[in-house]
């Protein structure tokens, strides 16, 4: 019996005003697998992710979540389904502290009041799981944090919840060597727990190290979605830069 994909998109179109960004895109993400989404700058990766997360819903196309067709109108809908997105532009509130950001929109309460202690404890343990050493205090304001630390907060925010699909838009872009390694480990662990993980990265080493499948966007077209073991480094680079490689990708 074939596995039901956690996420399946078919015939997705998306325009920003007069600019068409995604053309008839198909995309699947399976449970227990890391699907890498690659493509040049401006290929439409972030646009696809924003559609998946309900931030900017798609114009048309079919969206299946765990086999069932769904319609996402807002990020809240996506969160309710169990979709967590770490956005490329991190989307944190600088005037709030780390704990407040991690629980934003889904605060724990006791009666009317916030359960600050409970949230702080949960945030601390999640961050500890991410091996964050240099943050100092979980009560620091996000405005005081470095770019990499912010990225870690955004990541921690996504893994805090019991989700089915985690989408990471260049989560390691601002991270140091050790932190990148940790993010990749985390990505792998999430997939091993049975989640579907979508990872966007420009680093081919990372992509090959961690992914099970690679999906390539080229100028808004999905040119190939293949198993990582079936392609070489060079082929993927060709797909990214010219949209085809041998018999993969766009027809000649």
């Amino acid at each position: 019996m074939p596995v039901t994909p956690v996420l399946e998109l078919r015939g997705i179109d998306k325009s920003y005003g007069a600019v068409k960004v995604l053309y008839d895109v198909a995309f699947t993400a399976y449970p227990g697998e890391v699907t890498a989404l690659v493509g040049d700058n401006g290929a439409g990766k972030t646009t696809l992710v924003k559609g998946i997360g309900g931030v900017h819903p798609f114009d048309s196309g079919e969206y299946y979540f765990e086999g069932a067709p769904v319609r996402l109108g807002s990020p809240r809908d996506a969160a309710a389904l169990g979709i967590e997105v770490v956005h490329q532009d991190l989307a944190l509130c600088e005037n709030l502290d780390i704990v407040e950001n991690m629980f934003l929109g889904r605060e724990r309460t006791r009666g009317l009041a916030l359960d600050e202690a409970g949230m702080e404890a949960a945030a601390t343990s999640t961050l500890s799981g991410l091996s964050v050493r240099t943050m100092g205090s979980v009560r620091r304001r996000v405005s005081d944090l470095s770019g990499g630390q912010r990225q870690t907060v955004a990541l921690a925010r996504a893994v805090l919840w019991d989700s089915r699909l985690v989408v990471l838009d260049e989560p390691a872009a601002a991270l140091g060597v050790a932190q990148t390694q940790q993010v990749l480990e985390l990505v792998r662990r999430l997939a091993d727990k049975g989640l579907a993980v979508v990872l966007i990265s420009h680093n081919m080493n990372d992509v090959f190290a961690v992914s099970d499948r690679i999906a390539t966007l080229y100028l808004g077209h999905m040119v190939a979605q293949v198993r990582t073991g079936d392609v070489t480094h060079r082929q993927v680079v060709e797909l990214i830069t010219s949209g085809r490689s041998g018999d993969l990708g766009l027809p000649r």
């Binding site: 809240r76 709030l96 934003l104 009317l112 202690a117 091996s131 405005s143 990148t180």
Partner: protein, 427 residues
């Protein structure tokens, strides 16, 4: 960089456990002071300017008018003078937290007061019906502003500027050209003109002080028991003592007999003061301890981030204008009580300027995302002291305008500089 991660198996690399050292280190007063100083240096001044302002102004006016300014009567006067502006400012704090503005809050208070007065005088309604109607009028006005700002997306300053004019028209129409509506109902008049029995005042002050201490220590105990980030206990104690001293000293001053003749006694806390205290407690709780309050700060800090986190940004936007206008209605009722009447110009003129000034002087940022309910109280006192002191000095009207305008500009500059300071230090 070569990464080799086993697929499908458990992670091979043992993850180092982290330490949030600062959260577990027993914090002391020195550390807290250093943290605070770092915060001030990076442009987050908190309540300091307002407290210094109050102290400085009290010294100044005492020096200039030694026999009148600090007299018991004038102090009671000062408190009632501060009531409407403080309540108005407290509502504006919510709007300012989103980086929006409500220029019509002052005239909203006028319209609502007018609705109340007309209902009592012309329709013979009891005070509670009239008050409820005034509050309802506030809710309606706030909803309209909120809808235009949050749904239609007209900039709030344009919407409320339009209402600033339009609502004055409504007040004028309700009151009638040149007329005033008298307010004679005992309950309403008592709000700003009658005092609590002295014993009740003391009881209330003690209850407030003990309640504040209990809530602070309880919170500290809960945090430190679970090994969470907590302020040093000495700092908590210091704050509790400071609040208690202010509460009891204020009560003492207002409990002195301030009657102009020895034949009668006039003492006690004006009824409007506990009203402000209740509003302060509610607003502080809502902003600091509820999910709603957290969302207000989040939308003010980064609306798009809040939206992506699942916050209903539109609803938050509408709600803050509703709160501001409703509190404006309360402010209008108190102002009508103080003046025993409603005039067509009620709430226009410098009412709004004073309220915005109060919020900003208290430490609320005009850029959104930063501010507290208590800012309205601290700033409201500053504004009332200036107004009261200039009155005692008998300054000319033109100077009054100039001075008050400058104070607002000064406070806004501190806010803007603090913001620049924050971005300079990467905050």
């Amino acid at each position: 960089m070569s990464t080799d991660i086993p697929k499908g198996g458990p992670s091979a690399v043992k993850l180092a456990d982290s330490d949030f050292a600062a959260d577990h280190r027993p914090s002391d007063l020195g550390g807290a002071l250093r943290d605070y100083w770092a915060q001030v240096r990076s442009g987050d001044l908190g309540a300091v300017p307002a407290v210094l302002g109050i102290a400085g102004l009290v010294v100044l006016f005492t020096a200039l008018r030694p026999e009148t300014f600090l007299s018991d009567r004038n102090i009671a006067n000062l408190f009632t003078q501060a009531l409407p502006v403080t309540i108005l400012a407290m509502g504006l704090v919510f709007v300012l937290l989103l980086g929006e503005i409500d220029l019509s809050a002052g005239v909203t208070s006028g319209v609502c007061a007018c609705v109340m007065a007309k209902l009592m005088v012309s329709a013979g309604q009891p005070w509670y019906v009239a008050v409820l109607a005034a509050l309802a009028a506030g809710v309606v006005i706030g909803t309209a502003i909120g809808w235009l700002v949050a749904v239609v997306r007209i900039p709030s300053f344009v919407v409320t500027l339009a209402l600033f004019l339009g609502l004055q028209g409504i007040t004028l129409w309700l009151v009638g050209e040149g007329g005033t509506v008298p307010v004679r109902d005992d309950v309403i008049v008592a709000l700003a003109n009658k005092n609590m029995p002295v014993a009740l005042g003391w009881a209330l002050a003690v209850v407030c002080a003990v309640g504040y201490a209990a809530s602070q220590f309880w919170r500290w105990q809960r945090q430190s028991a679970r090994g969470l980030a907590a302020k040093p206990v000495q700092l908590v104690a210091l704050r509790v003592v400071a609040v208690a001293v202010v509460l009891l000293a204020g009560t003492y001053l207002l409990s002195q007999d301030r009657a102009p003749s020895p034949l009668i006694t006039l003492a006690g806390i004006p009824w409007g003061v506990p009203l402000v205290a209740v509003l302060l407690i509610i607003c502080t709780f809502v902003l600091g301890r509820t999910a709603y309050g957290r969302h207000v700060y989040a939308v003010g800090g980064n609306a798009e981030a809040a939206r992506r986190a699942g916050v209903n940004v539109t609803r938050i936007r509408v709600s803050v204008f509703m709160i501001a206008s409703t509190l404006a209605a309360v402010a209008g009722i108190v102002a009508a009580s103080r003046l025993n009447s409603v005039t067509p110009s009620e709430g226009s003129g410098n009412t709004l300027l004073y309220a915005v000034g109060a919020a900003v002087i208290g430490g609320t940022s005009l850029f959104g995302g930063r501010g507290k309910a208590r800012d309205a109280v601290l700033g409201g006192l500053v504004v009332a002291i200036i107004d009261n002191g200039l009155g005692l000095l008998g300054t000319k009207a033109y100077l009054n305008f100039l001075i008050t305008g400058s104070v607002l500009l000064f406070a806004a500059s501190i806010d803007a500089l603090a913001r620049r300071r924050r971005s300079a230090t990467g905050r």
